[in-house]
Structure formats: C-alpha cells, structure tokens
Symmetry: C2
Subunit: 263 residues, 2 copies
C-alpha cells in the first residue's frame, strides 16, 4: 500500500507572511503522520518483505517558494536562465523542507529530504521525475519528503514544479494506491460552502471552483481537481482535521476519482 | 565537450578539523572554474545550440561527511537503517555543498545544487544514478554541483556514495569527454615522490599506491586509479596548481586512460 500525501503550503506555512513556518499546524500534521506510521510499522508482518506503510510526503511552497518565484517571474511555464534565481527559489524551498523533515523526525517518522531539482526535469510543459531513488528509499523503510521546487526545463532554463505536479508524477511513477491532499479547506466546497463528498467529473464541481486567494503561482483548487481526475489513483482533499482519518484508511473531505468517462 | 571535475575533500575542506571549509583553497578553485567557464561561454558560437563549456562539478566530503559517516558506521558497503544517521550525514554534506556552490556563484559560475540522495541508489554494491536531471541542467547552461552523500541501498538501508563513484556514474551517464580529479597531490606519485606522467594499467603504479592517511571511508588513491582505469573517458589527477591547465584543455599531473588491454 503506497500512499502519496501532500501537505499544502497553507498547512506548513503562514501563507501571508514571508518565509514563516506554521509551527503549530506543522507539528499537528507531523504527529498525525507519526502516529499512523508507527502503528502501521508495529502491525506489519515481520516476515513480510514489504512495509505496508509506504508513505511519500510532498509539501508546497507557501510563503517560502512563491514570493521568491514571483520576484524572479518564474512560474510552471515561464522559465529563468538566471542561476542566482534558481538558487534563491531552491534555497528557500530547501530551508522549508529541512523544517518539515525535522518536524516529522521529531514525531518518529524516518523522514529524509528529496529535492526535485536534483532528479526531475520538464520537457514541453510536462514534468518528468524518475521515481527510482524514491522507490528505493521506500523499499528500505524511509519516508521521502519532497517539495515544490525549480527544475531544468528544455529550452526555457528552469521553471517551477508545483507540489501538485509532484503528487501526480509520484502517484504514476510509484503506481501509488492512495493520494491525499491536506490543505486549509475541509474539501472541495460547493456554492453554499458545503463539502462536496465525491467528484467523478470536473463538471460535478465546476461552478464552485474558483482560484485560491493568496499568492499561488501554481494554481488553486480548480487545477488540483483537474490534475487529480486525470490520475488512475483515487485522491482525497481534506484539512488537518481530516488527516488522521485519511492516514487510517478512510476518505475524509472530498474523494476525487474519475468515473472513466471522457469529460 | 562535457567535463566532469571532482574537487576532492582535501581541496575544499581542512580534512583534520571537523566541518571546516578550506576557504582559501575553495576560492582559488572557484576562481579557476569561473575564469575558464566565462572564457568558454564568451567563445561559444551564439548560433550553436550546445554550450561547449558543459561542466559538472563533484566534491568530496572531507571533514564534513566522513566523521559523521564514521560515527554511524556507514561506509560504501555497510549500510544504516537509522533515518537520523542518514539525515546527519546528508545534512553535513548539504551544508558543505551550499558553501561550495556559494563560492562558485561568487566567481560567476551558474552553479546549482544536486543531491545524490534525491536521485541515486545502490543495488548489489553498484551505484546507479539516472543522469536525466543533470543532463537537462547542463543543456540549459547551468553547472550542476554534486557531493558525496548517502543513498538508498537495496537490502541495506542507506550507504555512502563517494565522490569517485559519482564521477564514474556521471562520466558514463553523460558520455563525458574529460574527467579531472583535483586533490591535494600534484598527481599519482611514484616511490621517489615524482609525479607519474601517464598510467595505462594498474601495474604502472601499483608499487607506489598506498592509502590516504586521514579518515577516508571511501578509499584513497589506489581506489581512484582502479576506478578511472575502468572508465572509457580519459582522466587527469592533479592539484590546485594544475586546475587552470586542466580547465583550458591540457593534461596536468597524471593522465589515467586504459590502454584497453585486460589487466
């Protein structure tokens, strides 16, 4: 059972304050992951070769990556050839990543840092990430923790890769069983502010989907829903209150899984 | 023309003092790289798609990686399943890598950080590193800077990957034209302390090859020579005095290239 969990930038950072970690929320998330991972590890069949608790964590940039990217005019489609800009965006994201990994480690999660700049690249708008190193880390019982980043992009220097793109690439590359997106909303909301229980086609939620309000060069909820519908892996969108339920196998918030019909 | 340059741990760190950068030597090395890279970039045909100055830099661990690895009993063959040990060795190497990249950046080299833990893995003693991201960075004009690291290792948790293993993997993966190893000796020395001009078979230097004296979990000169002889790419071993000559296309120190005969 391989799970890809994204902790949104709005969970791990204070999105409106530059380079500010949301310490309390990050600790809550780390403790939920630690409790679930510890329980799964204990329940594992000692004779089994494969850990049933394979977990990859991806986190967004929030107030670390986005302001630096915006300052240099770098998005998922507009690149930069300025190595200093690449180093600045990457450095901000790595600093956040060290903090996230540290919080997970404090909750007894065997977390290790994995940098998309080191392993991924983009060609004709599509992000590619060889999954070998992440799969090897999982097989050895580690929890790889990736982050939104900048990556080399054919003909354009370097562009941003979003946490959502990483989730998609990892879910496909690892043939994951479950995807969870933990953000600051309890699910995808309809026009009345009620959580939509299940989305099987974009039209199920099109009217309600706007864009997120804070600076987010990588797209809001509409982009997330489109991305998740394109996956073979079922996904759930939930907030911190829903995280423990997701990690124990339930489907809190909104479950997004294509019904297979052409949209 | 793709060049893989290794700056040994003895060049960039004070090997006998824990976590100490050899600032003056690092700056000298960075200035040599900056001068050569700037000249190559200026000489490049503006209509050509490929930069003639493709350069990948790898650096060793010196007093950053080795003490932490030794403390946890991790070598290129003895692994650890302790995520805290992985984080500690990786963290020490990343800190050194940030400093090396910073020095290169100060010398106008478009350097960016690349972490082997994020992209490589080891199976049955052999280190594998998909070269896609590094190749994509090179194609966009960046200078990827890698470092000795820990990597996931099938059946053993995580093991050390040495700078020399990285040089080999990159030379093969990128089909490099030249390899340079810049260390604290002017070349491979014979029994009288004279630089051996050329080594085509291990026997050419076997008598003279000992092990390096300081803590080095990844092997000394004998291991380097064996590794380089196994490469299709010609290599040079030199010290800081030889670096400018190497970067301008000459073969300072000892040139190591197999004559093709079975040893």
């Amino acid at each position: 059972m391989t799970t890809v969990l994204k902790l949104g930038g709005s969970v791990v950072t204070a999105k409106d304050s530059p380079e500010t970690v949301a310490t309390e929320r990050l600790e809550r998330a780390a403790e939920a992951v630690g409790a679930a991972h510890g329980r799964d590890a204990t329940a594992a069949d000692p004779d089994a070769d494969i850990d049933p608790a394979d977990l990859v964590v991806v986190h967004g940039g929030g107030s670390f990556g986005h302001p630096a990217a915006e300052r240099h005019g770098v998005t998922t489609s507009a690149g930069t050839r300025d190595a200093a800009a690449v180093r600045e965006v990457h450095g901000a994201m790595r600093a956040l990543n060290r903090t996230v990994v540290g919080a997970l480690a404090a909750a007894d999660v065997p977390a290790v840092q994995v940098a998309p700049l080191s392993t991924g690249f983009r060609v004709e708008e599509r992000f590619h990430q060889p999954a070998d190193a992440v799969a090897a880390l999982l097989a050895e019982g580690f929890v790889p923790v990736l982050h939104g980043d900048v990556v080399a992009t054919a003909g354009a220097g370097a562009t941003v890769v979003s946490g959502d793109e990483l989730v998609t690439a990892l879910a496909e590359g690892l043939d994951a069983d479950r995807v969870g997106l933990c953000s600051d909303v309890p699910g995808v909301l309809d026009a009345d502010g009620t959580v939509i229980d299940r989305i099987e086609r974009f039209e199920d939620a099109a009217d309600a989907l706007g864009e997120s309000e804070a600076t987010d060069v990588t797209g809001g909820m509409a982009a997330k829903v489109r991305t998740l519908l394109a996956l073979d892996t079922p996904a759930s969108v939930f907030d911190l209150d829903g995280l423990p339920a997701f990690l124990t196998g339930r489907s809190p918030g909104t479950r997004i899984a294509s019904d297979g019909r052409v949209p």
